[in-house]
Symmetry: C2
C-alpha cells in the first residue's frame, strides 16, 4: 500500500506519521515543494522580532529524521504539478510520476491576492515562509528603514506590525476590515494597543497596488487563501469557504483521497457551519485523522471552536467561538457582556484581565468569549471556554464550573465565573 502526502509542514507530516504508526508496512512518501519541512511558520514574527535567533530553531524535524526514525520518505523541492486520480498518480513539475493508493492533500494556504502586483518590488514582502522571513530580516539589517506599512490586520498582520515596531520608528497598519475581522473587545483591544505603542491603524482602506508610493517597506499580510488549484483540477470538490470539503474523517469526494490542514475546511462547533481557519494546531489534528483514515483506521475530527491566541505588543489576546456580530449572522440572538477583573487575588497585585462573553438569549447557550490580559492565564481561560463550547454548555453551567482557586493564581471568583454570572443576568433582561 502506497501513501503519498502532498505537503511537508504541519498537516502533511502529522498524516504521514500517524499512518506509519498505524501501518508499519505502508510505503509513505511526502512531497514538499519547498526546501524546509516541519517548520513552525507561527514563529516567523518572533524571528523577525529577534526573540527567535535562527530559523533553524523553528525547524522541528529534518527529512533525515523522518527517514531514519519513521521510515517516511521525504522529498523536498518536489512540486506536484498535477494529480491524475484515474491513474492514481501525482505528477511532479519535472514530469516524474509518483504512484499512490492513498493520497493526502496538505497543500496549505498562501497569502491572498490583495496587492499582488506589488510583490515584485524589492521593498515589498510577505511573511509566509522561512525564505520570506530571511529576505525581510536581511532588508531590515541592510537597508535600515525607519518606517513600514503592514497591509492587513489579521493575526499575522498584527504580529508582524508588533515585531516591526520593535525595530522601526514608524509602523502603520492598513486594513480593509476590522482588526481580526471582529468587533467588540478584540477590535478595541487592538486599537488601544496600537495607540499605546505608536502603531498607526487605518481600517476601511482598500490598498491598491499603486497606493503606497512613499513607503520604505511594505509587508503584505492581507489574509490567506487555501491552496486548492491542484486539488480542484484533479476533481476534488471545494466548499463554500473555498477550501476543500472533507468529511469528519478528512475524506474528499474522491475515494482514497484525503485533505487536511490549511487547504481544507471543517465544521464550526458553535455555528454548525463549514468554516475555514488556517491554524497550525488545527492542521496537526486534521493531519492525524487524515493519516489514520489513509491507514484504514476510524478516527474523527469533530471540528473547531475558532480558538485563537496571539501576543500583540506584549498583551495576550485570545478568542473562541462566536462574537456578537458573528453570532447574529449565524442566526443566534446574542447577548454580550464585558467584565474587567484581576487575574489573581487582589492582594497579589494581579494583572488586569478583560473578558467578553456572548450567549444566546433564546436558550441560554454559551456562544463565545474574548479574553485579553498580560499573562499566560489568558490562554487557560479561553481554553476553558473552548471546552465548554465543545460540550454545548449553557451560560449557567459555566457560572458554576469548579475552577481552581488559590490567591497566587486566581481571584476567589474567577473572571470566567463573574462574566458567566453577569451574562446570565443580562440574558434574563437584567433581572437578578
Amino acid at each position: 500500500m502506497k501513501l503519498v502526502v502532498i505537503g511537508g509542514v504541519a498537516a502533511g507530516l502529522s498524516a504521514a506519521s500517524r499512518a506509519r504508526r498505524l501501518d508499519p508496512s505502508m510505503e509513505i512518501t511526502v512531497l514538499e515543494r519547498g526546501q524546509r519541512i516541519a517548520y513552525g511558520a507561527c514563529g516567523l514574527p518572533y524571528y523577525l522580532e529577534g526573540q527567535v535567533r535562527s530559523l533553524d530553531q523553528l525547524t522541528l524535524h529534518t527529512p533525515q529524521q523522518f527517514e531514519r526514525h519513521r521510515r517516511i520518505h521525504v522529498r523536498t523541492g518536489a512540486e506536484v504539478a498535477a494529480i491524475v486520480h484515474a491513474r492514481r498518480e501525482a505528477v511532479l513539475a519535472g514530469g516524474e510520476r509518483i504512484p499512490y493508493d492513498r493520497l493526502v492533500i496538505a497543500t496549505g494556504a498562501r497569502p491572498a491576492a490583495a496587492g499582488i502586483a506589488l510583490r515584485d518590488r524589492e521593498n515589498v514582502f510577505t511573511l509566509h515562509t522561512g525564505t520570506d522571513a530571511e529576505r525581510l530580516a536581511a532588508f531590515l539589517r541592510v537597508r535600515r528603514p525607519s518606517s513600514a506599512v503592514v497591509v492587513g490586520a489579521g493575526y499575522i498582520g498584527l504580529e508582524t506590525a508588533g515585531a516591526l515596531r520593535t525595530h522601526l520608528k514608524q509602523v502603520r497598519i492598513l486594513s480593509r476590515g476590522q482588526p481580526l475581522g471582529r468587533g467588540g473587545l478584540a477590535a478595541e483591544t487592538v486599537r488601544r494597543l496600537c495607540e499605546l505603542n505608536g502603531i498607526g491603524l487605518e481600517t476601511g482602506v482598500t490598498v491598491r497596488d499603486t497606493a503606497l508610493p512613499g513607503a520604505e517597506l511594505i509587508v503584505l499580510c492581507a489574509g490567506l487563501e487555501p491552496n486548492v488549484a491542484l486539488a480542484r483540477e484533479a476533481g476534488v470538490e471545494t466548499g463554500g469557504t473555498g477550501a476543500i470539503r472533507v468529511s469528519d474523517r478528512m475524506e474528499t469526494n474522491l475515494g482514497g483521497v484525503y485533505a487536511a490542514g490549511d487547504c481544507a475546511e471543517t465544521t464550526h462547533l458553535v455555528s454548525g457551519s463549514p468554516v475555514w481557519l488556517p491554524l497550525g494546531t488545527t492542521a496537526n489534528k486534521m493531519g492525524r485523522v487524515a493519516g489514520a483514515s489513509a491507514a484504514g483506521a476510524r478516527e474523527r475530527f469533530p471540528g473547531i471552536c475558532g480558538t485563537m491566541i496571539m501576543r500583540f505588543c506584549g498583551v495576550a489576546l485570545a478568542v473562541t467561538g462566536l462574537d456578537g456580530e458573528a453570532a447574529r449572522q449565524a442566526g443566534f440572538e446574542p447577548v454580550t457582556v464585558r467584565v474587567e477583573s484581576l487575574d489573581k487575588a487582589a492582594y497579589f497585585r494581579g494583572h488586569k484581565t478583560t473578558l467578553e462573553l456572548t450567549g444566546d438569549r433564546r436558550n441560554g447557550r454559551l456562544l463565545g468569549a474574548v479574553v485579553t490580559g498580560e499573562d499566560s492565564a489568558t490562554g487557560g481561560r479561553i481554553n476553558t471556554v473552548a471546552a465548554a463550547l465543545t460540550a454545548r454548555m449553557n451560560v449557567e453551567d459555566l457560572e458554576m464550573l469548579d475552577l481552581a482557586y488559590a490567591p497566587p493564581y486566581a481571584p476567589v471568583w474567577d473572571p470566567l465565573l463573574i462574566a458567566g454570572r453577569q451574562l446570565a443576568r443580562a440574558m434574563r433582561g437584567g433581572r437578578d
Copy 2:
C-alpha cells in the same frame, strides 16, 4: 420575611448578598462569632510568608459596608448557642433570641481534633483564623525559632510549611497519610519539592500529643472537620461525610433551613457520590445558591469536580477529578498516564509542565488530572479539564479540543492534547 445567616465569611456573606439582590424587602441579619467578617483565610499562609503585609489586606468587606451598601445587618462577636427550629429562633450565647423565617447555616469548618491536647501550649498553633495567624507571626518575630514542625500534609499544611521555610532553617512535616491524601504525581511532586527545598517530610506518622517534646514551634494542620454540632442539635441531618446533607438548592432536611460552605457536603461530579471538600470558591457558589433559595428563587449548585490549586515552594500544583486510587475506590477501572512537556513552543524556553491524566478503561470517560508547573498556565490547564469533566467528556473528546496555540503561550500540541492522546492509546492497551 426575616433571613438569619449564621457565619460571616464566604458562604454566609454570599448567601446574604444574593438574597438581598433577589428580595429588596427581606430583613437580613448575619451572625458572626468572630470579630472579622469576609476575610480570605486562603491568604493566611501568604501573610505568614510576608507576601501579604497586613491582615487588613485579606479583609474584603466590613460590617459597615454590608450595612450601608446592601442593608444587611452584620453582628460580629455574635455566637449562636442553639437553633430552636420549632420556634424559628437562633439563640445567642448571651441568651438573646433572634427570630427567623429562613435560616442559612454557614458555620464553616475547624481544625480537626488531632493533637488537640497540644493546643494550649504557647508554641503550638493552628492557622485557621486571622487571630491564629497574628499569634504565629508574633511568635516568629519575638522568639525567632530556627525550626518548626508542621503536622499534616494537606494543602494548608504544605502552604504553611512552605511559608515557614522562608523564615526558618529547619521545617519538618509529619503526616499520617500521603501528601494531599493522594498518590501519583501529586504526592511525588510534593516529595520532590520538599527534598529540593530542605523540608523534611515523614508520612505514615501518627502524631501523639506527647510526641514532639523538642520542637520549638508546632503548627497543627491535620485537616479540617465541618462545624456541625449546632446544626445537628437542631435536628439538621448530616451525611456520610460528616457534613450537612443538602439538596442541590442547599436545602437541609428542615423546611426553610439551608446550609452552605465548609459545613455542607455536595456531590462529586465524577464519582456521583457525596463529597466534603472545604474550599473558598465552592463556599461562595454554594452560598449564592443558598441565598437564592432562601429568597424563593430556583437556582442549583450542581456539585464539584474536586478542583484545587496550590503553590508550594514556588511551583503550582493543581488537581481535578479523581486520581487512579480514588477512581478505583469509586468503582471505575482507571488508566493513568503521565506526560512531561514544555508549556510553550520550545524556542520560547517554556517551563516544564507535567500532566497526569486518568480515564476509565471501560468506556473511555475522562476521570481526572493533576498538573504541575512553574507558571500560571497550570491553573488554566486544570480548569480546562474541570470543564471537560463537568461535561462528562471522553478522553477522545479532550484529545481533539480546539485549544489556543501561539508560540509564547503553548506548544502546537498542548500538553493536554498530548496527554489525552497518550491516555487514549493506553486505554486501547497500547495500540496505536
